[in-house]
């Protein structure tokens, strides 16, 4: 057991900290999930890329630093510690990119990854459909073969597409075998949102930002080169991605350590006005953030040793998402009547409520934990 970072890792941390402190934009202004905010956040993403901090874990040739898992965790800690804004590129970088690294052809990697890293193409996900949420396998959007044109024609209706109204590209699953059911006969496609036949309608999240979109596809042509991982293999390919979404990648402990620090500060400022039972919940949130950090370090140690942590990523997802709701609710209870004002805490609270729902509701995650980790019967 050794909780010290190597000299190289410490240097990496110092470099990241210096750069972030000098470059993180002022907080405030519209969020990246609004039209004007998105444009402003693109500048930040491009600044990150120019300084090679956009995709630290990627190979250098795609704009990364070949960072290790530990370095990636360090970068995330520093990123949230510096108060840097949420990444509008995250669905591409954390969901699509791992899949391209695993299943993409060399041509796809070379064509897609550098533009993604540079925030030239901004990717959104097209998983859910109006009738297919937690039950993703019931999706009905279809892909019809166009042999002559060397590709596929996509038709259907995707929804809950985060920042879909501002992104340039979409990835998602479509039913390429009309006779198939459930998990079979699906194919993973990547689609430019400016393709003929696509209509995007943005709609508002709980906090009022236009954070979601519906994407309507009507006979949209996609060439064979934009099929990822083989026709009919969509489910298997996509599942590797949902693993990333739930697990370490999207929710690094740095974010919650930083939120917990801010909560402790808020409570200190208002110590005299805060009931002791609420202070105890502040301690609880701080404790949970520590616990999440330690769990993740242990998990990362195992991953670094080549252990497949598999269904355990459901434990991460349940824990961070519910910790976040508790933490934000505690902040509201400190603020009292001020909690309803539009501000970072009320925004943070509303945002936190999506955590237990997206990327597979926590009900589904608990089923996974019970069945795949504990071995209870599937029924």
């Amino acid at each position: 057991m050794d909780l010290n970072y190597s000299e190289r890792e410490q240097t990496f941390r110092a470099e990241a900290r210096v750069w972030l402190e000098a470059n993180v934009p002022d907080p405030g202004g519209p969020s990246g999930d609004t039209r004007e905010g998105f444009a402003r956040h693109l500048e930040w993403e491009r600044a990150l890329h120019e300084a090679r901090w956009a995709v630290v874990a990627w190979p250098e040739r795609y704009g990364g630093r070949d960072a290790t898992l530990w370095e990636w965790l360090i970068f995330e800690e520093e990123y949230y510690r510096a108060g840097a804004p949420p990444r509008i590129t995250q669905n591409g970088i954390f969901l699509l990119a791992p899949t391209i690294f695993e299943f993409g052809t060399d041509e796809q990697q070379d064509r897609i990854l550098p533009r993604m890293a540079a925030a030239q193409d901004i990717w959104c996900q097209g998983w859910s459909e109006p009738g297919a949420g937690s039950d993703l396998a019931s999706l009905r959007s279809r892909a019809v073969r166009d042999e002559a044109a060397g590709g596929w024609r996509l038709t259907g209706h995707k929804t809950w597409t985060t920042r879909g109204a501002f992104c340039t590209h979409l990835f998602g699953l479509f039913r390429s075998d009309p006779d198939s059911e459930r998990h079979r006969g699906l194919t993973y496609f990547m689609v430019a949102l400016n393709s003929p036949g696509i209509t995007v309608r943005g709609f508002n999240r709980l906090d009022g930002d236009e954070g979601f979109a519906e994407v309507f596809l009507d006979d949209v042509f996609v060439p064979d080169t934009d099929v990822l991982g083989g026709v009919g293999e969509g489910w298997r390919v996509a599942m590797s991605t949902t693993g990333s979404e739930r697990g370490l990648s999207l929710r690094s402990p740095g974010r919650f350590l930083s939120s917990a620090e801010r909560l402790v500060e808020l409570a200190r400022e208002r110590l005299a006005d805060t009931p002791a039972a609420v202070l105890d919940r502040v301690v609880g949130s701080w404790l949970d953030a520590q616990a999440y950090q330690l769990f993740t370090l242990q998990q990362a140690t195992r991953m670094a040793a080549g252990v497949d942590t598999g269904a355990e990523s459901s434990l991460n997802k349940i824990f961070w998402s519910e910790l976040d709701v508790r933490l934000q609710q505690t902040a509201l209870d400190i603020l009292g009547p001020e909690a309803e004002l539009d501000g970072p805490w009320s925004k943070g609270f509303l945002f936190s409520l999506s955590g237990p729902i997206y990327a597979g509701t926590n009900e589904i995650q608990r089923n996974i934990v019970a069945e795949r980790v504990l071995g209870l019967p599937r029924k």
Partner: protein, 348 residues
């Protein structure tokens, strides 16, 4: 011993329920949000005034309805259920009775009772910068506020809108220096605060019932994995817990109304118990019902948020659950000598 709404109280409840079902559907709640058609709200209040709502607690000799707090609770559960985006608690529980207690305010009182004028209020003495935030402040002509010099009435003409979570609350910030004194005794003010606390608790019960009803309807029709999601035990148990929270908070709120109506010696306890239980219930019901929807309740296009955001705001108003529990700790002899923010009296 008869602990339930009696016939008259049920009549009032049913009357208001029907009126609001017709006059205050979600589209009218949305009208109160920034950019909405605010003019849609006026007729609703006129109709409520027509059945005596603003003067519910005002003596009949002064033109009021002359009812008590048990009726107030029955009324406000319904305005909460409808998400009525108006300062109902402020007008019914605070403004009308306080104006009635100020002989020089007869004209304004008459306007309030007729439904022509809505009055806001802000009785939480938390201002440090000389301004206060008045809920529904953009809809009302004046507000009753606590100033460093005592209770005051302030025109809202120069108030500044402030963005908040529940857009239909239309918060507005007003300068306390513009307030003119309103002369009422401490007892009347204490009573107003107690009524507003219980009234807010009653609206929270109504809001909670509405959120649960929306959710039950949704989970019965939404299918996933080939069955209605309401058939999954995880959904069943979460919604059963939501119902439990509501059913065990509701009677406590009614009890608090009864305590105020009868001048019960334990009223302070009952009021804090009511607000603590109702705030907790509403907060947990909001959380649970959003979760049981999945993504759909996470957008402003779906109606659920209209009620959830109101619930989050009211859960904090007039003392949140933690503050009232801390106050109860004091009343039960479990003082820790740690100060807490509950509602404070105006400085003498």
């Amino acid at each position: 011993m008869y602990f339930d709404l009696d016939e008259d109280q049920r009549m009032l409840r049913d009357l208001v329920r029907r009126l609001l079902a017709d006059e205050c559907p979600p589209s009218v709640v949305r009208a109160a949000w920034p950019g909405g058609e605010v003019s849609l709200l006026e007729p609703v209040w006129r109709k409520l005034a027509g059945i005596g709502v603003p003067g519910l607690l005002v003596d009949e000799t002064l033109g009021g309805t002359g009812l008590d707090e048990t009726y107030m609770v029955a009324l406000l559960e319904q305005t909460g259920h409808a998400g009525l985006p108006l300062p109902t608690v402020a007008t019914v529980a605070v403004a009308a009775p306080l104006l009635a207690a100020s002989p020089d305010r007869a004209e304004l009182l008459a306007d309030v009772l007729s439904g022509q004028t809505l009055i806001g209020c802000q009785l939480e003495a938390s201002s440090t910068d000389g301004t206060v935030l008045v809920p529904h402040g953009q809809l009302v002509s004046a507000a009753i506020v606590i100033t460093p010099r005592g209770l005051g009435l302030v025109s809202m003409a120069a108030a500044r809108p402030v963005a908040s979570m529940d857009g239909a609350r239309r918060l507005a910030q007003v300068d306390l220096r513009a307030a003119v004194p309103l002369h009422v005794d401490d007892e009347a003010l204490d009573l107003a605060v107690a009524r507003a606390t219980v009234g807010t608790a009653a609206e929270l019960i109504g809001l909670s019932r509405r959120m649960l009803a929306i959710t039950v309807e949704y989970v019965c029709q939404r299918t996933q994995f080939g069955v209605p999601v309401g058939g999954f035990q995880a959904i069943k148990h979460q919604l059963a817990d939501a119902l439990l929270a509501i059913e065990f908070a509701g009677p406590a709120v009614r009890r608090a109304g009864y305590s105020l109506a009868t001048g019960d010696a334990n009223a302070e306890r009952e009021v804090s118990a009511a607000k603590a239980l109702a705030s907790e219930a509403a907060t947990s019901v909001a959380r649970t019902t959003i979760q049981c929807h999945g993504a759909i309740a996470y957008t402003t296009e779906y109606d659920h948020h209209l009620f959830a955001k109101r619930a989050w705001a009211l859960a904090q108003e007039y003392g949140n659950a933690a503050a009232h529990r801390q106050r109860l700790a004091g009343l039960l002899g479990l003082r820790t000598d740690h100060p807490s923010r509950t509602i404070q009296k105006v400085a003498p």
